[in-house]
Symmetry: C2
Subunit: 473 residues, 2 copies
């Protein structure tokens, strides 16, 4: 154990904490550096994604590090989307026709604390807070930090440096500006921003609306969602265009306008939100962006993981899950090379490159799926054709649980297949069902089994036709 490399991990958020814990379990000496104060000692970041959706891919990562059971104590199961229409009618659209397939609402700081505690309990992990990364010496796995308590500069280095410093990654920015290699990079912003609000708990600590669902108020261009917290409250997020719309962040500029907007679009939510106007103007408006880049590693010395490598929009509830799955994939490759060691030295460059070749197509896929779901959640859930598709899929999943998995199920509950496979199969299935329905080829006269057979055949044909074009390349 003593001869294992020193690893410098920058960023002690969800990904960096889990990664550090796992690397320490493998016997590495880990130094984990975080720019923010220790969140176990302060409260911070009000109004920024207080709770998140944790599902099977994320749980697999937590399981790998032995913290799944502890994490589950922080979870509230959500069995489906509770759709709220303008007339305050609700109906539950289940995530799956199978009973054991649900997602969980979990507190971001709660889960982060759990992971920091577990990492800190390892003798070979050192965590340093309040140190902001200023520059990275990429070829030497070394970085200079500003100590925000003393304003001093500190330089730290490792045998390798792992950047898990999130969507605004300082490590990635250093790669972008490095200029000695070609760095592909994209940042794509949606026309919408988000703002976090709250449905507080009842005075007795109970929930003001149905607990075990992800609540959605889809309104075409706008959307409101709410996820439950353990303390009886819901964290509510409003997704709204920045401008060029009857109601948008640019023109919702008085408490009266905000209330008018909620009265018109989300009357049943408004009833549950006594502090709406105050929160609306106190909480920041956040942008919604997708970040992709390549290469993730440089000089066989530095590697990006998690949001630093692939920030995605939140509409599939997969951001944290993708980051935890990064740790699983990286760990598998590390395991392979560790068990085949000949001269006692790991060739990190090979490991980093194999990790990217393995993983990038999948994080690209979940990024694209998350943008698709942005449109699905705010618009499609109100389309009759889409609703017929969802109804049919739920019936397939209930009646033939081993034979049919919707795109959502493939992404969310089938962690044994990759995001890329889930995207290809899921999109082909959607296309097959929508076109069969639109062409009147799934009449009521057919049995559910006959319908499933047609859908499967059409899906197979679509995937075959796509492959003929693609395999030429």
């Amino acid at each position: 154990m003593n001869t294992k490399d020193n690893i410098l991990v920058i960023g002690a958020g969800l990904c960096g904490s889990l990664l550090s814990l796992r690397l320490a379990q493998r016997g590495y000496q880990v130094t984990l550096v975080e720019k923010r104060p220790d969140l176990r000692k302060t409260t911070q970041d009000a109004g920024r994604s207080i709770n998140l959706a944790l599902s099977d891919r994320g749980l697999k990562g937590l399981r790998l590090a032995g913290v799944e059971e502890d994490a589950k104590k922080l979870c509230i199961p959500m069995n489906g989307r509770m759709i709220h229409d303008r007339q305050s009618n609700t109906f539950l659209s289940k995530y799956s026709g199978r009973k054991n397939e649900y997602i969980n609402s979990v507190s971001r700081p709660g889960l982060n604390k759990l992971l920091l505690d577990a990492a800190e309990a390892m003798p070979n992990v050192k965590i340093i807070f309040n140190h902001g990364c200023k520059t990275v010496d990429l070829p030497n796995a070394s970085a200079t930090f500003k100590n925000y308590e003393t304003n001093e500069e500190v330089t730290l280095s490792g045998d390798i440096l792992l950047g898990t410093d999130g969507a605004g990654s300082a490590v990635r920015k250093n790669m972008f500006l490095h200029k000695k290699f070609l760095f592909s990079f994209s940042q794509d912003w949606l026309t919408h921003g988000y703002k976090e609000l709250e449905i507080p708990a009842k005075k007795d600590g109970g929930y003001r609306t149905y607990t075990n669902a992800l609540h959605i108020w889809p309104r075409g261009e706008d959307m409101l969602i709410a996820l439950p917290n353990l303390d009886g409250s819901f964290t509510v997020t409003l997704f709204l265009p920045y401008k060029n719309s009857d109601y948008c962040f640019e023109n919702l500029n008085t408490p009266e306008r905000v209330t008018e907007y909620f009265e018109k679009e989300f009357p049943d939510a408004l009833e549950l939100m006594p502090n709406l106007a105050e929160e609306f103007f106190n909480n920041p408006t956040g942008p919604l962006g997708t970040i992709k880049c390549s290469p993730w590693s440089t000089y066989g010395k530095t590697l990006l993981l998690g949001d630093a490598a692939h920030a995605i929009v939140p509409f599939y509830g997969q951001g944290m899950n993708a980051s935890f799955e990064d740790v699983v994939v990286f760990d598998e490759i590390l395991e392979k090379y560790e068990s085949n060691l000949t001269d006692g030295t790991l060739h990190w460059e090979t490991i980093f490159q194999e990790y990217e070749v393995n993983r990038k197509k999948d994080t690209d896929a979940i990024a694209d799926l998350a943008v698709d779901n942005f449109h699905e959640m705010k618009e499609h859930t109100a389309s009759p054709l889409f609703q017929r598709k969802r109804k049919l899929e739920t019936a397939f999943e209930a009646e033939f649980p081993q034979e049919y998995y919707s795109k959502y199920s493939l992404v969310t509950f089938n962690e044994h297949i990759t995001y890329d496979e889930a995207l290809r199969k899921g999109r082909a299935q959607d296309k097959a069902i929508l076109n069969l329905l639109d062409d009147g080829k799934l009449p009521d006269s057919l049995s559910l089994q006959e319908k499933l057979k047609l859908v499967k055949r059409e899906t197979k044909e679509i995937m075959h036709d796509d492959a003929v074009v693609k395999n030429l390349k």
Copy 2:
């Protein structure tokens, strides 16, 4: 005329020169600033895209400014791709089954000089060379330049500022760094770089190989191409991986290795290139990248056009053509607003935004088509299924010239439809033919007319099926 706005144009390459000429013809006061020396007085940039493909969309832009006929004098028609195999066999794959559909090889500096001369002949155009743009004051349509002759700083401003300063645009970089709005941006690099080489003219000034074709030596991962020049020479471009290949820029590091590589892969080209090794090591290796961004305009004061807004890889021969088409589209919108003037003032912000809404989907489309064609040129041209497709398409175009246009023809010779339409229809046609061929549904027993009917029906179905999925959004 005297009351028209002052326009500051940054970048006097192909796009900036044509745009300035056209705006001057409309009566605007134009100041055109270029960082390089006047190319009419110096020779420069050896080894960087000396000739380009000019086709219908580009010619339309030149026609708009009244310089098409002069430009045609610089053109050498190319009727198809002359494919060279490893055994030095050649065959001509025509660009179209229609006789009047061909592309042209044109000298970049030659065409640029022509446009600068035409712009400079206008009394309301002032051209300033040797001034590099350092910073842009986006809200005030003002920019600071370094005069490379005196090292002094100069600030210039206009009522509006147009950035036509190419793929490395300083104006765009200022937008990226501005931080007061969300700027979507991507730079995507291919794994390949390029290097320009030469087949010199014969001693008598004649051509050493067939003149009226774009010569291609497709070799899977690598590719060599050659375009004719008026002086009897050909400009040759080698596209090759940077690394991780038997032959790549990283390991072609001695004259012997370079010659060995050409002997093995391009023996007939090598015979025509007496100065190969010298040129290989003297000329730079250039990267191949796609750049997309949005918004193209800020504050109703600045707008990006040409490569500054949308740099693409060269594999469709559409880079210059897309930039000239930008001028056509911008001019059409300007015409509409000028002829509907009520209070005498143009609202540039509206014009800029309408231009982007109109144009961006098309420049995104040609960017994607150009990457597709990278794979088509280096790999597919050698695939039997692809060759059967091309043969069938050429027959369709020859026999039914008004009824069938291949993707290449739609993009290159059908300037009345947009790149986006060309992409959607062209990809659907390709998918239809490849799958019909692959499934054995176009047997020789069918007449050409029957085959065309099947292809058209299948294409229509593919486009319909795609639309059902898309229109949900």
